[in-house]
């Protein structure tokens, strides 16, 4: 067994505990350790990505209990890709948190960030549905702490809404798992994939109910309409750097939907059929529209970023909902792009907000370093709205191309939403950076905070320049997702060791 598969979960767990017990209150050492752990995680993630590409799908059996009796972690191309994305994003946000001083505004920022990384990495790697629930809770508890980091009245009250909403989601998750276990007697994803096709017809209604409940849970995480209400309030009230990191959390919902929709409830499964697609496609298109209208109507810069995030999840889910290899490949490319782009937008919003003391979109005195920030905002807006030359354009083009046969509906919504987003970003940008009058306040030098945003931008540029090889790799990934025999075989069901 390849023991490195556990590393993205165990490394942050150890580092977080070390920070709480040994380095308590010592911010400088916590920062150094967090940077070292972030670099190590990036190295491990790249090695895992390489391993998944060259050696194929591998399973790790915790405690050497054979699947489906024990819990297995499964490293395939998709999970390796998502772990690499997590490692890169968490490192950039870590640099920003250190550079902007957010981590000094309350206790335990660094341990909470490590626990969040642990939970997200676990959710990406696990091959067991109940274990997925447990990692969801790990990442949620860490995110509750990060969300109210730095405290403040509105932030605490928005935090209450966020926690309450997610607790209802967790309850739904457990009910769905109970139904699935009651019908099939297993919660191992590969075992479910092997058993569900031969399900007796009398049980298919229960499985359909469970499938819809799971999709609801993932839609809450991914902030799909009508379950998006928590996101603008939460992300706009969270510290900017935390909101940027949360860009990966909505992708946990997207990842889980992709995993269940291709492995456990594939479109050719008699019990569910195209149930998931028929629910997800309308929700995704409406999310895209709501997000785009929200960017046009947002009153503060963080809320603008939050609605742009909802729109990008809508577009990603539009592509996911079709469940074909071509659309899945397009969705994966767009997910990579939108995670980085949303994070940049939140970082820019944070940089601007901290220079103006509030995030309202009105023309007041100029912002310190307004040239630099305007350039960053322009880049982020270009990426989010899907304009050339950045990767948002390629991602949108791939999705449009994949939906040739449903062009009248899907193309209209996507292109209309893009237009509204361009308007929204143009309005916000011109209000903030163009109209102000008077003398600019002195510049605040934050090389790390600004550098982190630029490093994410470099990621987008790389994604654009390497679009050819990346899409070819993602096409192979999507093909493997839709023919999950390799994933199932890696779990060695019914064999010893």
């Amino acid at each position: 067994m390849n023991h490195w598969i556990t590393a993205p979960i165990i490394l942050p767990a150890f580092v977080a505990v070390l920070m709480i017990i040994v380095l308590r209150g010592n911010l400088a050492l916590q920062r150094a350790l967090a940077i070292a752990a972030g670099l190590a995680l990036n190295g491990i993630a790249i090695a895992l990505l390489w391993s998944a590409t060259t050696h194929g799908t591998e399973a790790y059996f915790l405690g050497d209990w054979p699947a489906p009796f024990g819990i297995s972690l499964v490293l395939d191309r998709l999970s390796a890709l998502m772990v690499a994305l997590l490692a890169a994003l968490s490192f950039a946000t870590l640099l920003n948190a250190i550079g902007s001083g957010w981590d000094a505004k309350g206790a335990h920022f660094h341990p909470l960030l490590q626990f969040l990384v642990m939970g997200v990495a676990g959710a990406f790697l696990t091959g067991d549905a109940f274990n997925l629930f447990v990692f969801f809770e790990v990442l949620l508890i860490a995110s509750y702490g990060l969300m109210v980091h730095g405290s403040g009245r509105e932030r605490t009250r928005a935090g209450f809404q966020y926690v309450a909403f997610n607790l209802v989601g967790s309850s739904l998750f457990i009910v769905a798992l109970g139904l699935i276990y009651g019908v099939t007697g297993t919660l191992n994803l590969a075992d479910l994939a092997a058993k569900l096709p031969s399900l007796p017809p009398g049980d298919s209604a229960l499985i359909r109910t469970a499938a819809v409940m799971l999709i609801l849970v993932f839609a809450i995480k991914a902030a799909l309409v009508p379950l998006q209400f928590w996101l603008p309030g939460t992300y706009a009230n969270a510290p900017g750097v935390v909101a940027a990191l949360f860009a990966i959390m909505t992708k946990v919902g997207a990842y889980s939907t992709l995993r269940f929709g291709t492995l456990v409830f594939p479109p050719d499964l008699p019990a569910t059929g195209d149930l998931l697609a028929s629910l997800l496609l309308p929700a995704a298109l409406v999310s895209l529209a709501v997000g785009a209208i929200g960017t046009l109507g947002a009153t503060t810069l963080p809320r603008l970023a939050a609605f742009a995030g909802i729109a990008s999840m809508g577009l990603a889910f539009t592509a996911i909902a079709a469940f074909t290899p071509q659309t899945t490949a397009a969705a994966l490319y767009y997910i990579l792009h939108s995670t980085l782009a949303t994070a940049i937008l939140f970082l820019v919003a944070d940089l601007v907000t901290r220079r103006r003391a509030h995030g309202r979109l009105d023309s007041a005195a100029p912002i310190a370093q307004s040239g630099l920030l305007a350039a960053l905002f322009l880049a982020a807006a270009t990426a989010m709205a899907g304009l050339p030359p950045l990767s948002g354009f390629i991602g949108k083009l791939l999705i449009l191309d994949a939906f040739r046969d449903q062009a009248p509906l899907v193309w209209t919504v996507i292109l209309g939403a893009s237009f509204l987003m361009i308007l929204g970003f143009a309005r916000a940008g011109s209000t903030l950076f163009w109209k102000p009058e008077g003398a600019a306040p002195p510049a605040i030098a934050e090389p790390f905070a600004v550098g982190a945003a630029f490093s994410l931008l470099a990621g987008l540029a790389a994604l654009t320049l390497l679009a050819g090889p990346v899409t070819a790799w993602l096409a192979d990934t999507a093909t493997a997702l839709h023919a999950p025999a390799e994933y199932i075989n890696a779990n060695r069901l019914g064999q010893d060791g």
Binding site: T156, F160, L179
Partner: protein, 113 residues
């Protein structure tokens, strides 16, 4: 017995949902607690209801499924921790805002206290 347990789960869920829809934080927390009770019992039942049977060890015709019991234990621990976190958030929100309404952005309007 199935009918009894099913009715209990249904009642707990209904009580929980009603309380979650209230606009004060404390009823919402109570509602979430009721909902987690309902969910835990329903997860427990997913291993089928068996009386007077040992899980795995022992001799007998029927066995209780031990896995849902382990799952329920995990779920109970998690929901307990989550409720504690939520309670802390509610209390600090109450102390900072001076009221315990759930909705945001209404601090100008105090008349529905």
């Amino acid at each position: 017995m199935e009918a009894l347990v099913a009715t209990a789960i249904g009642t707990l869920t209904a009580v929980g949902l009603y309380l979650i829809l209230q606009r004060r934080t404390f009823p919402v927390i109570l509602g979430l607690t009721f909902l987690s009770y309902a969910v835990n019992v329903s997860l427990f039942v997913s291993g089928r209801l068996v009386t007077n049977a040992a899980p795995i060890i022992g001799t007998g015709e029927t066995f209780a499924d031990p896995l849902p019991q382990a799952l329920v234990l995990t779920a109970i621990v998690i929901s307990f921790g989550m409720t504690a976190v939520l309670m802390i958030l509610a209390i600090s929100g109450h102390l900072q805002a001076g009221h315990d309404r759930v909705n945001l952005g209404d601090d100008a309007r105090k008349d529905d206290a």
